[in-house]
Symmetry: C3
């Protein structure tokens, strides 16, 4: 169901303060986790389940770098080993709570849900965090009650922008007649798209003359479980020379943006969606950041509505025979790769 | 569980406007439907499920007489065939959404859930719609979280009026000592009841002297899945001559009413209840329509409370052994007939 | 799952008035019950399920000492036998609703859920009711969405007071280093604890000098299904003589309290918790009753939070392998005894 040997985003770094009560809970890939910061600022991710009687440790108390279960007072160090059992001097060897490798990068907290020995920080997706000096990014998050496979399919076929996002990112149907360039990677897929001579996206059309057209560039890097890192650029179409037929736009770069999106499967029926968007400092302008922020928030509610509806319908008829089309190539490749990796992990478990 | 070759009420005609967004969804007999009006006023009922990836078409957009899925832009004609796939010229033969035969009659929208070849408008129950020139009818609807078989049983034994509706339609216990005349039909049951020399129904007792009595006449026509068409008349009891012992009242007709009730099974645990009630123009009087409207709304909340409670208890103990009595004859016949038809349909499926 | 031959608390006596509508419903050990008072003041407990068509009798009407189902008017005497079926003179022998033996004692209503022939009022736990002349007790109740076994474990290991109730009953961690004296009984367990020279409980610390210490005495009597009768006393520690090392405190009795707590399993996922607390009239003081009342209400919300969280986690991983410690002795003995009695009942059923 879920890849285990994989980094899952557990949220934005600012969600986890040093406050005494700063224990946050997450449901990730079917596991209940509690996260907190040590006094040195590092982050601990533990199973949210005391090994004594399964009481949630997130109802516990942070004590230095340790976490005390507030049912019977068992105290666990940052590596999950029990270090104190009130009323008993001997601590059983099995008195441990499972912990998960954590890396903070790009203002995101990443948790490795599989074999800790295999945790490799190089497998974390390359994002641009809101702290990056070259970009002005705003961040947000949303819960979507859908299966993460539907998110993967959604993000690997951008033709949906014309329809789902008709009132926000859309404004042209040329997406469907544009062939994206998909490149399968060992644990994901890159996709490149050039749209030439199209109107501005709907949310920005009021800023330009009605007949002004643009070249749009998308480079997305998807990686498992469900991360979507998007470099999106807007060029003024070169009306004098005519749009370039292939390769980069021959117009002037007007807007250079970056959006980092980490979608974390909670369980089979929900995802937590953490995202940012904003312009490069070189192309930013007063008020632009808010415009992008409002547009992406609105657009992600459009996705939420569709993906939750789709999830409901699929649950009604899981065996319904669907019909494919050309633009399913992207989702098809990506989900094929996901299933391949899932099978490999399952085989390793057996071996 | 549900008869398929059967007309199901999908609501009042006024619920489905010509507005651009006028897509309504219904759950009928375990299927999710979307309904809309074509520009010519006709109604289309489709499965609320795009054949591409199961996205709800009710989140789509009406375009003329067609419906466009707003996930990837597939467009479906009123007969369910896909007529456009953005980004692809060829349309697969299987790219169809199931549609359902629709008939509008008596201000109700009727949908045939089975084999379209068998859809016969003559099987629609004979009702009196609010548009009928001889009657002043008010309409309403209510969701009841119960199984429709409990509704069938409820409506085919009117002795419950004395108890469930003690504060509204009731006011006498003579229902129980009155023998209804049940006549089984090929797809339902007619029931005729005469009550003689009884007080006015509770909701109208304040209009008459306390000792004034009436003859009440009920003729109900029940048909599957769960329609209840009721002709209800009130006669002043003929105190001089004495009430007629048999046959029609020998008193003066004071109130002639009609109530059309279509109860649509959504799934095993809910029904949508569409109903009307009102007096003939010949016997109507100022304020009477509102009195009837308030009474039936209140009474149907009384039924809702009982039938939802009963449904919960049955789910707790589905195998509980119950005890029958004389007035179960009506429900017994009707449910026996339902089960017979269900079996016949199941046999046809196998054949 | 539940002991049947056992008295279950159905609530405080004042919850069941003589009002015409005074029908209360309870879910007890997986059964739905309706309770009402007869004109003579006695209490009737019936299955909340008409034997005709399973309609809830709690939607019915009290008539003298009988209860009429308000669906079709069947009337049941206080012993559950049907005494009237409107429209039919003969009453089938099977037309009975199950009733349950009831005893009112200590202002609680007790219901026997098993074989009526085995109902023995001597098996009701010995409590002190709010009507007792020697005590000033306040009462309350709370619903907790947890399994009753977790409540049994909670109440038979009071070391949790230091942690769960850190802000209310707690204020010292000496509970964990104190050995309780558990005594297994045929249908429960008594536990005696002496804490010596400890600070006042947190909720009362503002009343005393910071360095003042006390001896605390607990005598709890737990009995199945889940009753907890607690005699709790506070002594001023005898600083002159030094605290007694064993046996009763040698200090002055400052506060003598009694708390009676009946926790009724509704089903596998919920309990109804009825409780009282207060001081003896001999040791009571102005405002003290309210202080105790506020403290116990707050404390029981602390338990609710932990026990509901624990229940959720256990449902996520019912087979999770937990780790025991010394203070599990109390819960271990008690749950061992419960399982033994459950097995004996199951064996009787088969025999």
């Amino acid at each position: 169901m879920f890849l285990k040997n994989c980094w899952y985003c557990a949220g934005w770094d600012h969600e986890l303060s040093q406050g005494r009560d700063a224990l946050i809970t997450r449901r990730i890939a079917g596991e209940s986790l509690v996260l907190y910061r040590r006094p040195d600022g590092g982050v601990v991710a533990m199973e949210d389940r005391c090994c004594h009687r399964q009481s949630p440790l997130s109802l516990g108390r942070k004590e230095g770098d340790a976490l005390r279960c507030m049912y019977h007072g068992w105290k666990f160090g940052p590596h999950g080993r029990c270090v104190e059992i009130p009323g008993q001097t001997q601590i059983p060897e099995r008195a441990c709570v499972r912990t998960f490798p954590v890396v903070e990068r790009d203002n995101w907290i990443w948790v490795w849900m599989g074999d800790p020995a295999k945790a490799d920080a190089d497998l974390i997706c390359k994002a641009v965090g809101p702290g990056h000096p070259d970009w002005n990014l705003r961040t947000s998050k949303v819960r979507v009650n859908t299966n993460y496979r539907l998110e993967l399919a959604n993000l690997s076929d951008l033709t949906h922008i014309s329809w789902v996002h008709d009132q926000t990112f859309g404004g042209t149907t040329v997406y469907a007649s544009t062939r994206p360039k998909h490149t399968l990677k060992p644990r994901g897929m890159d996709t490149e798209i050039w749209l030439r001579g199209v109107p501005a996206p709907r949310f920005a059309q009021h800023l330009f003359p009605p007949d002004m057209v643009f070249d749009l560039y998308f480079l997305s890097q998807m990686s498992f479980p469900c991360n979507f890192i998007l470099h999106f650029q807007v060029y003024a179409a070169n009306n004098a020379a005519g749009a370039a037929a292939e390769g980069p736009s021959n117009g002037q770069l007007m807007l250079d943006t970056f959006s980092s999106q980490a979608i974390t499967p909670c369980d089979a029926d929900a995802v937590d969606y953490y995202y940012s968007w904003g312009a490069s400092k070189a192309t930013d302008a007063p008020g632009l950041g808010v415009l992008l922020y409002e547009a992406i928030n609105e657009a992600f509610l459009e996705d939420k509505r569709i993906l939750e509806g789709q999830h409901q319908r699929i649950k009604e008829k899981p065996d319904f025979r669907t019909v494919d089309y050309a633009h399913d190539a992207g989702p098809g490749k990506l989900l094929w790769l996901l299933d391949k990796l899932l099978k490999e992990e399952a085989a390793e478990q057996v071996a």
